[in-house]
């Protein structure tokens, strides 16, 4: 357990940091560190210094996190050490973002970067083509879950009663339940539910258009929508497959190799590693695909976007009562975020975490109620 935490926390936070640094480079040149700047200042020395500082901030945050992990493990707080470093790293990296973007905000205000320059709001009046998300990942998810289910069905008569339903990290059972369809197939049912949910989300994600930045030309705006839709659909459907694979592997390890410590643990660690690989792989690919959208052609200059910084709190949260949109393109990273100035946006912001919390508590209670 101790060794696991000592390796897991630093590796996990390092991957998180790489992801954060990759995301910074995804945005158009007019939005460094989620601050709106005119094209004439996108290579301003202040902007370049701020981005460099943000990267160093991420490294520093990682060093602090690693030190805290070691301290927690040495003081025999290993269970805490699995949770606290990840949270600490998230807080420190957001702090690095807020502090370094403040530099650009100040220079922009004092230098009057937006004074007297022409600005526009832009949108695509013809609908960008909609592509159905590929079926291959949902199909593969269904296949691996079906294989694990088939094994469970075949083994059902020989399974013990009561049957173990909860295991320690070493794969030893620590809770049992009367043998029933629920206690045997419970994990696979949760897996199937998660796959369906993520697949539905991936289909929904493919329908929204990215909000056009005025400094993009028509092809660049269309490319941005295409990449954003493609990233979210492939990310969600690949994550669904990885979860289906991990859950099936854990289920098979329990049934076919009961009591073998490494089998269950390998499934769990493999799952976390694969999730990070899928996320970083997809973001890195989106970054390459977006390069033509972030290039600027001095022979065909585009107008600048309107300075809308006052609606972006900390560069991360969007609050604009005058905007009819409930969902808008994120400024930092790719994807969509809620407009918290919209009545439904506030309701969703409160209800979504509540629903997730209620769902998790219900799952835990169900697993322990036997």
């Amino acid at each position: 357990m101790t060794a696991f935490v000592l390796v897991f926390a630093p590796v996990f936070t390092a991957l998180f940091g790489i992801l954060f640094a990759l995301i910074v480079a995804l945005r158009p040149p007019g939005l460094p560190l989620s601050v709106r700047v005119p094209q004439a200042h996108s290579d301003d020395p202040v902007v370049l210094t701020a981005i460099r500082r943000f990267r160093w901030g991420l490294v520093l945050a990682w060093v602090v996190t690693a030190a805290v992990t070691v301290a927690l493990v040495l003081s025999a707080q290993a269970p805490l050490a699995a949770v606290i470093p990840v949270l600490l790293y998230a807080v420190l990296s957001i702090l690095a973002l807020v502090l370094s973007r403040r530099m650009i905000l100040r220079a922009k205000r004092e230098g009057g970067w937006f004074e007297g320059i022409p600005v526009r709001v832009s949108a695509q009046i013809t609908e960008p083509a909609y592509h159905h998300p590929p079926i291959v990942w949902p199909a593969l998810s269904a296949i691996v879950l079906a294989v694990a289910t088939a094994v469970d069905v075949a083994l059902y008569p020989t399974l013990p009663d009561p049957i173990p339903v909860h295991f320690t990290i070493n794969g030893r059972p620590d809770n049992w339940a009367a043998k029933s369809v629920w206690s045997v197939f419970g994990l696979l049912m949760v897996g199937a539910g998660v796959v369906v949910l993520l697949t539905v989300l991936s289909i929904v994600a493919a329908r929204y258009a990215a909000r056009t930045q005025a400094d993009d030309n028509a092809e660049q705006a269309a490319l941005r929508t295409r990449v954003q839709r493609g990233l979210l659909t492939s990310l969600l459907s690949e994550l669904a497959f990885v979860l289906a694979l991990g859950i099936s592997a854990i289920e098979l390890a329990r049934r076919l190799l009961p009591g073998v410590a490494w089998a269950s643990a390998t499934g769990a660690i493999g799952l976390v590693v694969l999730i990070m690989v899928v996320i970083i792989g997809n973001v890195a690919r989106a970054r390459v695909q977006l390069q033509p959208a972030n290039a600027r052609d001095p022979r065909n200059p585009r107008p600048d976007a309107v300075d809308d910084d006052q609606h972006w709190k900390g560069g991360l949260f969007y609050v604009n009562r005058d905007d009819p949109a409930l969902v808008v393109s994120r400024r930092f990273g790719l994807g969509w975020t809620l407009n918290l100035g919209h009545p439904a946006g506030i309701a969703l912001m409160i209800l979504l975490p509540l629903a997730i919390a209620a769902g998790s508590i219900a799952l835990v209670l169900a697993a322990h109620s036997h």
Binding site: R120, S122, A123, Q124, T126, D322, A325
Partner: protein
């Protein structure tokens, strides 16, 4: 196709929207049958009131340049290749009279007015030819 709106301009936002669609039809960027983003979605894209976008679409519908059906939404209704709608030229002549009067009042010579008109018409035609080539 991109529409750029200047939020600080004296010309109202719906008018800017309408003018750019008319120009896109003239230079072949928008062709008869092209479907337009719905009012609600376009307003969400711009981040402006739906009523403003609706007013721009209403103007275009009134002029016969756009038609809206429940099934296919708003589509471009006509293009440069078709005969003008009856009654169009009277209203247009009135507006052109004002524009020409402005030019004359500001001292533009007849020759330079004609030259400007010709070069603008040539620009629409050459864009239309370009749009036709890239589409085929």
């Amino acid at each position: 196709m991109l529409i750029d709106i200047d939020p600080h301009s004296e010309s109202p936002l719906y008018q800017q929207l309408r003018d750019q669609v008319v120009q896109a039809i003239a230079d072949g960027t928008l062709k008869p049958g092209d479907s337009l983003t719905s009012v609600r979605q376009l307003a969400g894209q711009f981040g402006i009131n739906s009523a403003t976008v609706g007013k721009g679409y209403e103007l275009l519908r009134h002029e016969g340049l756009v038609r809206t059906s429940r099934r296919s939404g708003s589509v471009i209704a006509r293009g440069p290749a078709e005969e003008p709608t009856p009654g169009f030229s009277e209203g247009w002549t009135d507006r052109l009279r004002t524009l020409l009067a402005e030019a004359v009042a500001h001292g533009m010579s007849e020759a330079s007015i004609r030259q400007t008109t010709d070069s603008l018409l040539a620009e629409f035609a050459s864009r239309r030819a370009g749009a036709g080539r890239s589409a085929s």
